[in-house]
């Protein structure tokens, strides 16, 4: 189906269902209940899930397949964002042209950076990409202020040119839209004490992520994808097999740069603003974390990793000591305080600590990320079943 094997098709179908039903799935707790803070089904966070999902899927095409660890991918995200916002300022607030330009400019920039960086491999490649990204950040922050808005960044303004759009009515504001459909508009559905929000922007981003995901599956299963995996496995043999690794890796680099640009463009489409911190190296580090955490080289891993990190960032970081006290109120006072002291460093502002520890544990014990973890658990159950089967069948013989 769709040119995919049954297994891949099922995976795509599962991801499609999950993203389309996300407003329900992510809001399992009724409003006002103590657990409502674990609900992630609000538009802003759901948009982040899918946008960073795209970013990580793209990064995985480079790192997961070829093994080239880029520490500067946020630069392409940032460039995409700047391109998109300029398109929306100058031409139209419709997000389609903005995203096309974001992908194109990010791709061109990736071609330049990749052409230079890919002349080296290993840690040298990582440092080169890092250097390019930090340069982009520094320039966006300082010299390029006329284009980037410097520290304050860029927002949509009333007096933007918007050549294709009509004049705004009194009191109206320029908003990102898809042929008039406002990105920030939402439909709210109230069922009992549950509240579900269906946001236009989220669904547009989700559809784009599904397309991006589908494309990634195609790339993984194509001869091109095979060559990329061969690059990771043995470049020497590849060379002596009459294949030139350079254009393959460069193509992978540019494709993943375009994915990053698409993610950057979508971010602008959602919140219509951009600042240089989007290009800082910590942002590049974040996508590395996402991909590894989920499982580099796997299809679904990066999406899972992106989801997990964004969930932690937004939900875990909101838990404070008051909330902990309400949770553990049933315990005797001394014990309650003790447990809260133990947990406190890992939540709220300390969520990065939790992230760092999880990440280290994954790198040490689960190099294949969450996906490998899932597979191991599945295997465990399978083996158990097998054992039971043989145990059950033996007496019958």
């Amino acid at each position: 189906m769709l040119g995919l094997t049954k297994k891949d098709y099922n995976l795509l179908l599962i991801v499609a269902c999950l993203t389309m039903l996300a407003p329900f799935i992510l809001n399992p707790f009724p409003e006002g209940s103590g657990l409502a803070q674990f609900n992630a089904g609000y538009p802003d966070l759901m948009q982040r899930f899918v946008i960073f999902g795209i970013f990580a899927i793209g990064f995985n095409i480079l790192f997961g397949l070829t093994g080239y660890l880029s520490f500067g991918h946020a630069a392409f995200l940032g460039v995409g964002s700047y391109a998109a916002i300029w398109m929306m300022k100058l031409l139209t607030t419709n997000v389609i042209p903005a995203m096309i330009l974001a992908v194109a400019i990010a791709g061109a920039f990736a071609l330049l950076v990749g052409y230079v960086s890919l002349r080296r491999s290993g840690i040298y490649f990582s440092i080169l990409t890092l250097a390019f990204a930090q340069m982009s950040y520094a320039l966006a922050y300082s010299v390029l202020t006329p284009i980037t808005g410097g520290e304050t960044g860029l927002q949509l303004k009333l007096d933007d040119a918007r050549i294709l759009d009509g004049a705004l009515g009194a009191g109206e504001q320029a908003r990102a839209n898809l042929f008039g459909l406002n990105m920030s508009s939402s439909y709210e559905l109230s069922v009992g004490s549950w509240l579900f929000t269906f946001n236009t922007g989220y669904y547009i981003a989700a559809v784009i992520m599904l397309l991006a995901f589908y494309l990634a599956i195609r790339i993984f299963r194509s001869p091109f994808g095979l060559m990329l995996r061969a690059v990771k496995s043995n470049q020497q043999r590849l060379n002596y097999t009459g294949l030139n690794p350079r254009p393959y890796t460069l193509a992978a680099f540019v494709i993943s740069g375009m994915y990053a640009g698409l993610a950057g463009g979508l971010m602008v489409a959602m919140d219509t603003q951009v600042g240089p911190e989007r290009m800082f190296w910590t942002a590049s580090g974040e996508v590395v974390l996402m991909t590894i955490l989920g499982g580099a080289g796997t299809l679904i891993g990066p999406v899972l990793g992106a989801g997990l990190i964004k969930y932690m960032e937004n939900i875990l970081s909101k838990i404070n000591s008051d909330i902990l006290h309400t949770w553990f109120a049933f315990l005797p006072d001394g014990l309650e305080d003790f447990i809260i002291t133990l947990i406190y460093p890992f939540i709220g502002k300390g969520w990065h600590l939790t992230l760092g520890i999880i990440f280290m544990l994954v790198v040490i014990f689960l190099p294949g990320g969450l996906v490998e973890g899932g597979q191991r658990i599945a295997k465990l159950f399978k083996r158990k079943d097998d054992a039971e089967d043989t145990a059950a069948s033996t007496p019958a013989e």
Partner: protein
């Protein structure tokens, strides 16, 4: 006029003259062995054929075209395939995938952006790869990860990968180094079979005289970077210069 013509090749590493005035002609559809004691420059010479090294002087012509200054993948596309001392395969990939890569390289050239088609629906590639695996007795292992095979099977796979490109010249760099006797004999049989069944020229660097004398039609003895003798195997065996070179090494 041989398929591989080496003229006056010299190569210097610092103070060491690794190759000096090497002249060599490998005739088409023969098996030509290059032997010599350690440090005779065999591997350096081989590296000059495949583009890993560029000699300081002289020329290396393959089928009338110079290979000098070309990259390894360009030389491979000209029709020279190389088997390494330790098998170089794609360890992380499955045996079938290993096999498909050279077949794709043969069909599509050094680079082709083929990112949307499903690999497994490329019927011609798949058929050719599977036929080759069948030929080499690796068909049962097609789904296995290459790194988990035995050393002998890895060698077999590497040779299969090279053959699938239908090279005109197959270079073998000590193909039985570090192998047990049984594996060595299997490899000799395999190479003999290849020699008989295919129109292919083989150039082999080898230490093991048993391998050399079972396969070679012609032998060049290299010592201290210079060819000492070139002759038929039976003439090489008792040649005084050869004995000197080898005994000299032993002493």
């Amino acid at each position: 006029m041989g398929i591989l013509e080496v003229k006056n090749v010299g190569k210097r590493f610092g103070g060491l003259q690794a190759l000096n005035e090497v002249n060599l002609s490998v005739a088409e559809n023969t098996c030509h062995a290059i032997i010599g004691p350690n440090g005779a420059g065999k591997s350096t010479l081989l590296n000059c054929f495949v583009g890993k090294l560029i000699p300081d002087t002289g020329s290396v012509m393959f089928d009338g075209q110079s290979v000098l200054g070309r990259t390894p993948y360009e030389i491979n596309q000209m029709g020279i395939s190389r088997v390494f001392q330790t098998p170089e395969i794609f360890s992380d990939l499955s045996v079938l995938e290993n096999m498909m890569i050279p077949v794709l390289a043969k069909r599509d050239g050094a680079f082709r952006m083929h990112a949307y088609a499903d690999m497994m629906s490329e019927k011609d590639i798949l058929e050719k790869s599977e036929a080759m695996l069948e030929d080499m007795g690796l068909a049962e292992k097609r789904g296995m990860q290459a790194s988990s095979m035995s050393r002998g099977d890895k060698r077999r796979l590497e040779i299969a990968m090279c053959l699938s490109q239908e090279p005109r010249l197959l270079l073998l760099d000590e193909p039985t180094a570090g192998m047990a006797r049984a594996d060595t004999n299997n490899t000799i049989d395999l190479l003999k079979q290849i020699k008989e069944e295919r129109d292919i020229t083989i150039a082999i660097i080898e230490h093991d005289m048993h391998v050399v004398f079972s396969l070679a039609d012609r032998i060049t003895v290299l010592a201290q970077g210079t060819p000492l003798v070139e002759d038929h195997p039976e003439n090489i065996k008792g040649h005084p210069k050869v004995r000197e070179a080898y005994l000299g090494e032993a002493a």
